[in-house]
Structures are given as C-alpha cells and as structure tokens.
C-alpha cells in the first residue's frame, strides 16, 4: 500500500492552514479523516442522524478552533477527542434511546456465566469477548475512548453510578481471567 502522507501535506500543516482560514485545507482534512471517524462513531451509537450531526459539529469545531491544536499527539487522536464529545452533545439534544440494544441482555448469558463457561485461561481478546455487551461498552468508553464517568454516562444512556459499578465489575472480571 502506498503512503500518501509522504507526498501530501501533513495533518499538522493542514490544521495550520485551516487555522488561517483555508477552506480547501478543511476539505482535504475532511476527506482524510471523516471516513474512519464516521465508522468509529457508528460503533458507539446506532442512531445514524446523531452520528452525522456529531461529524458535522466536529468539522465546524475544527474550523473554529484549529488554532487550539498545539501539536501534542496525533491529529487523529485530537479529532477523535472532539468527535466523541460532539456525539455526546448530539445525544444530549435528543431523547434517550437505547444503546447497544439492551434486549440482548436477556438472550445472552450474564458476564459471570460467560466467564464460568469459558474457564480456560485466555488472552485479553478472549477475556473481552466474554464480558457482557454492557460491561464491554463501559470499558470501551472509559478506557479506549478516555471519557470521564459523566461523559460515558451520557453516551451509554445510563446513570453515572452505573458506569462506575460496571467499570469496577469489568475490571475485576478481566483481572480474574488474566491472572
């Protein structure tokens, strides 16, 4: 696979141009990052309209605050940090909806059962797979996306206290399995 980044302007220089009011640079940045941002946002939220709103707000925010990027870390990570928070805002504006279809809870065995069923020592991947979707969603929001308890609670549509207890339970289960 070719590496387009060697012949094309870097994300950092594009952001500098966007900060200076270059609309074309914003478009290049969008073509580069919008696809993976949409896919990743769509994994966090089943409401396609909310995802589109979040993506739109993200690039409007990039246009207005490109100057606030100070080169600490990858531009992709910076963009994701904006996008996930814009998604949370988009969800806040809408009525509560279910996240990661709650009905699976009754169909699937509980996390504890899953752990008991798959007793053999597994890698992290297997351990994550055996967590219930609810616990996995909390792990994804708090660890992978780096959200605060409050932000995770809005994204997942559950109380902040539940985020905390689920995160604790998930960590405990993972620790047990990986021990």
């Amino acid at each position: 696979m070719s590496t387009p980044s060697t012949v094309m302007p870097s994300d950092e220089s594009l952001l500098t141009a966007v900060g200076a009011g270059d609309r074309a640079a914003l478009r290049v940045l969008y073509e580069r990052h919008a696809p993976w941002l949409t896919l990743r946002l769509a994994r966090r939220c089943s409401d396609a309209d909310a995802v589109d709103d979040a993506l739109q707000d993200t690039f409007v925010a990039v246009w207005r605050s490109a100057g606030r990027y100070h080169g600490g870390g990858a531009v992709g990570a910076w963009l994701w940090g904006i996008a996930i928070r814009r998604l949370i805002d988009a969800l806040r504006r809408r009525p509560r909806r279910e996240f990661f279809s709650g009905e699976r809870e009754t169909l699937e065995p509980s996390a504890e059962e899953q752990v008991l069923l798959g007793v053999q020592h597994g890698d992290l991947g297997g351990a994550l797979e055996r967590l219930s979707p609810e616990l996995r969603a909390v792990i994804q929001a708090t660890i992978l996306d780096g959200l605060t308890t409050r932000e995770a609670s809005t994204l997942l549509g559950i109380p902040a206290g539940t985020v905390k207890t689920r995160a604790m339970r998930a960590r405990m289960l993972l620790r047990q399995e990986l021990a």
Partner: protein
C-alpha cells in the same frame, strides 16, 4: 506501529462484523495511522460523507446569529421575523447601550435634587419616542431595502419594530427608575408622558415626514418642560396629576388620529 491492519479485518470492522477485542485494536491503530485511514476511506458511504461535508460548509457560510436575534428566537419569535426585528436600528446593541448610558447619568443627576429629577423624567419620557423615531430612519437601517421588498406590509413591520423599540426602552427606563432616590410616584411619572409623546409623534407623522414629526414633538415637549420649570414654583409640576390627565387626553386623541390615518404613515422614511 510497524504492521498495518489486514484489509479483510478493516472490511469486517467497517461492516460491524468484528468482535470487541479486534475492534479495539483496529481503532487504536487507525487513529494514528494515515495509511490505514486512507484504506478505510472507500469503506464509508460516500453519499453520506458528501452530505455531511455540504452541511459543514453551509454552517460555516451561514451568517452568525446575533445575541438579540437569539433572544427573540428563544422567546418563540419566528426566525424571519426575528431577523427583521433584530435589524431594527433601535434594537442594536449600540443604541441600547447609549440609552442605558443616558439613563444612568440622569439617575445620577436625580440624586442631586429636583433639577436632576426633572432631567431624568424628561429624558425617560423622550427616549421611547426616540427609539421609535430611530426605527423609522432609513439611513440607520441596514436592511431598509430588504424590509421594503419583504412580503410583509411595510406599515405592519414598522409598527412591530416601533412596538419592540417602545417595549425595550420603557423596560430600560423602568429598570433605571428603580435606582431613583426614594421610589414613589416619580418613578413612574414618565410613563404616561412617554406614551403620549410617542402617540402624538406618530399621529403627526401621518401629516408630515416622520422625522419632522419627531423633531416637532421633541421641541414642543422640551419647551413645555422648560417654561413650566422656570415659571412655576414646583419644577416637577409638569409631571403632576393635572398635567398627567392632560397628557392622557392628548395621547388618546393622538391614538384616535393614528388609527384613522394609519395608511397615510410615510413608511419610506427620510433622513
């Protein structure tokens, strides 16, 4: 990271047919890998991405909604009406702040005796009419051409704007009156004169050009106040009960004239 994500795995990720552990590692890699970001690009729905990009550009091109327009929309005013109202010169921040400044100085003066109180009452009675006058002034209206061409009766728009200007100015004068020394009759004594003056000027505007009408009424009012203050022992007699009754009668008469001759109102303005 030396190795890139396997293309099949990327496809499975994009389709949502992937287990959590793999999804986590795909995401952790893609967020900082330009090559894999480019590889993901064809997997997203291009029509949808184009639509969102168009929405982004629309939002960036749209004029920023001003503070007053946001307040009006928040109060449930229709968006098009809010824009026309917010463009009223006498609702602009510069006008409102000058009204506030004038009122604060006259309140300060009112703390230094009857002369100051007379200044406050005289000013508070005049300002609402001035607000209405400014909404007539085409040279001050950035949307004059648009307002004339709007599918909206010009007289109706003018009266709407005048009402909005009147309401805000009266509200501001009322707020200022709270800061007067010893709240009593004097705190509201300007209200009847201000309404009477506004109505009188609008009634007169059905005969002569609006700004001429405002100038005549202002001059007449100032002359009356001054003559009264020098001739009478009580400088505030003009705001006393008998004078208020005369002003009520004047206002009612003006309202009658205005109602009968409203179609003669010269909405084109001058200046």
């Amino acid at each position: 990271m030396s190795t890139h994500v396997d293309p099949d795995l990327l496809c499975a990720y994009a389709a949502g047919e992937i287990d959590a552990a793999h999804a986590f590692s795909v995401e952790a890699h893609v967020v900082r890998c330009p090559t894999c970001q480019a590889a993901v690009a064809p997997l997203a729905d291009p029509a949808r991405l184009d639509r969102v990009l168009a929405a982004v550009e629309d939002e960036l091109d749209a004029p920023r909604v001003g503070a007053i327009e946001r307040v009006l929309r928040g109060l449930g005013v229709r968006a098009d009406l809010a824009r026309l109202l917010a463009a009223t010169p006498s609702l602009s921040l510069s006008w409102l702040s000058s009204v506030a400044l004038a009122l604060s100085f006259s309140v300060l003066a009112a703390h230094h005796g009857d002369g100051g109180m007379l200044l406050f009452l005289c000013l508070a009675a005049l300002l609402p009419m001035a607000g209405v006058a400014v909404s007539f002034a085409r040279a001050l209206d950035p949307t004059f051409e648009i307002a004339v061409a709007a599918p909206f009766s010009s007289v109706r728009l003018l009266l709407l704007r005048a009402t909005a200007a009147l309401a805000t100015t009266i509200a501001m004068a009322g707020l200022a009156a709270v800061a007067l020394p010893g709240i009593g009759w004097s705190a509201v004594a300007w209200a009847v004169p201000s309404l009477a003056l506004t109505l009188a000027s609008l009634a007169l505007a059905t005969y002569v050009a609006p700004l001429t009408a405002f100038a005549i009424v202002t001059a007449a009012w100032l002359a009356t106040v001054l003559v009264n203050a020098t001739a009478s022992d009580d400088v505030l007699a003009i705001f006393g009960r008998p004078a208020q009754l005369v002003l009520v009668a004047l206002g009612a008469g003006a309202a009658l004239v205005l109602a009968r001759r409203i179609d003669r109102l010269d909405v084109r303005g001058d200046l």
